[in-house]
């Protein structure tokens, strides 16, 4: 972000002036049921450019999930602010789709029903909804599970359905709160591949911010990894990863960044 650029809110799509997400001196203090105040994270400042894939990484409890909640508009920060396309966040909205650690599919609807409800909530006309849902079910390779209820699917399939539900609405921003954290290794890899595919294909169209505690996942997916300290979380380092996509764990650059981030995080984990 160049300081000399004049900022205007009317910058055309793809223009350099307004970052898609701007986190400004964000802090959050939570009060435990015992009455004890705990600082989740403090003085977070970072920006995310349009189409960029940013991963927040840090030890458990460093406040990365809370940071995403604030960007999603699900919780207010204690101080600081989040701007999306230059506008302060004032609540959740379909412009910021979110994946949770649990797939959060609605159990009373079929997989297809989940997609169609999301499309309806996003204001997609009914005439378009069916074909959009079908397209994304196919893209996530779950079209044969479309009429099943979520509880009939494996954890990996459920998270794919959640990804399809989020992407079907064509969100400008996709947030992920450790979305693959509860999956087995194979299902996780498959989803990482799917997300990489989406990232490449959607290029400028979707901006991604994922929280993860998995270093390999962060390096595989992200254009930029923001490393957070142990609680109270602050930003301690930033890695820009220019490796070509699709990336694999065998890539030399990927391997090198993974070990660098590891070395940085280990003392943090010890501290946490």
């Amino acid at each position: 972000m160049s300081a000399t650029t004049v900022e205007t809110r009317d910058t055309p799509a793809g223009g350099p002036a307004t970052p898609t997400i701007s986190v400004r001196d964000l802090s959050m203090t939570r009060v435990r049921p015992s009455g004890e105040a705990v600082v989740a994270f403090e003085h977070l400042t970072f920006e995310v450019e349009r189409g960029e894939f940013v991963c927040l990484i840090g030890p458990s409890g460093c406040g990365k999930s809370s940071t995403l909640s604030v960007i999603a508009g699900l919780e207010p920060p204690t101080s600081g602010e989040v701007l999306v396309e230059g506008e302060p966040v004032a609540g959740a909205g379909p412009d910021r789709a979110m994946l949770f650690q649990e797939p959060a599919l609605f159990p009373w609807l079929s997989v297809r029903g989940n997609l169609e409800l999301a499309l309806k909530l996003a204001g997609v006309p009914a005439s378009e909804s069916a074909s959009r849902a079908a397209t994304w079910l196919e893209r996530m390779h779950i079209e044969s599970y479309a009429e099943r209820q979520p509880h009939e699917l494996s954890a990996g399939m459920r998270q794919r359905a959640a990804l399809a539900r989020a992407l079907a609405c064509d969100p400008p921003i996709l947030l992920g709160d450790e979305p693959f954290g509860a999956l087995d290794a194979l299902a996780r890899e498959r989803l990482q591949d799917l997300v990489q595919g989406v990232r490449v294909e959607r290029a400028e169209r979707t901006t991604f911010v994922f929280a993860t505690h998995n270093v390999r996942e962060a390096v595989l997916l992200a254009d930029r990894v923001l490393v957070m300290s142990a609680a109270p979380g602050t930003l301690i380092e930033e890695f820009r990863i220019d490796a070509a996509r699709p990336r694999t764990l065998e890539d030399v650059l990927v391997t090198r960044v993974i070990s660098e981030i590891h070395d940085l995080l280990i003392p943090q984990v010890e501290e946490a």
């Binding site: 999603a72 508009g73 699900l74 609540g91 959740a92 909205g93 379909p94 910021r96 789709a97 979110m98 949770f100 649990e102 959060a104 609605f106 159990p107 009373w108 609807l109 409800l117 999301a118 309806k120 909530l121 996003a122 204001g123 209820q149 979520p150 509880h151 009939e152 539900r165 609405c169 947030l175």
Partner: protein, 255 residues
Amino acid sequence: MPRWLRELGPPLLGVVVLILVWALAAALTDTTAIPSPAETWSALRAGIADGSIPEATWKSLLRLAFSFAAALVIGTALGLLLAAFELVRRSVRPLVVALQIIPFVAWVPLAVIWFGVTERAVVFVAIAGSFPSVALATLQGIRQVPPLYIRAGKTLGATGWTLQRDIVFPAAMPAYMTGIQQAWGFAWKALMAGELIVPAVGASGLGHLLDSSQDVAEILAVVGVIAVIGVAVDYLIVGTIDRRVRAKRGLLEPA
């Protein structure tokens, strides 16, 4: 073992044991106090043959349908108010809990004073006996909605009424249905208490038969009919809806 036998076998066994114990008790005591199963059976057949039991059953079921429908509407509306407004919840919920604790028969004198010896008095008792449970079930259902669904709904763009209609209400259904199962049972019991005590006006219901009958075998036959109807409604109607709601959400224990 065929499926029907596995499902119906144990309850049937329970009924057979009950009848055996009953027959034994009848044989060992004064038969006018405890009529034998055979005597009760013939009283039941006589009651069915002369039309009194079918007619009373029909009348009671109509009253049940009307009263419970009213209790559902009133209770659900009240429950929604309790869920929506914290002040209402904190001030009114204890009253609703108190209402739920009041025994059904306690409403009868009031009902008679307010409505006289009328159909309305009986229906009032049944509604008063069941709507608090519906209200509390509604509140419980809504308050137990997993926060994750609400968070997910909000990030998908659901707000205000849309969030309630598309996310909160369907998510609240399983707990709501559990409460409904309890509430309709209360409606049935309260209706019987009302019919038993409020003298019959026009057509009599099963509760009236209990009161008007002088023969112990007849009374037992009517009690049996009340129980069978209760089990049938519970299993065939309310239970079926409840099982469907749960099965769809994967909440049913595998059989």
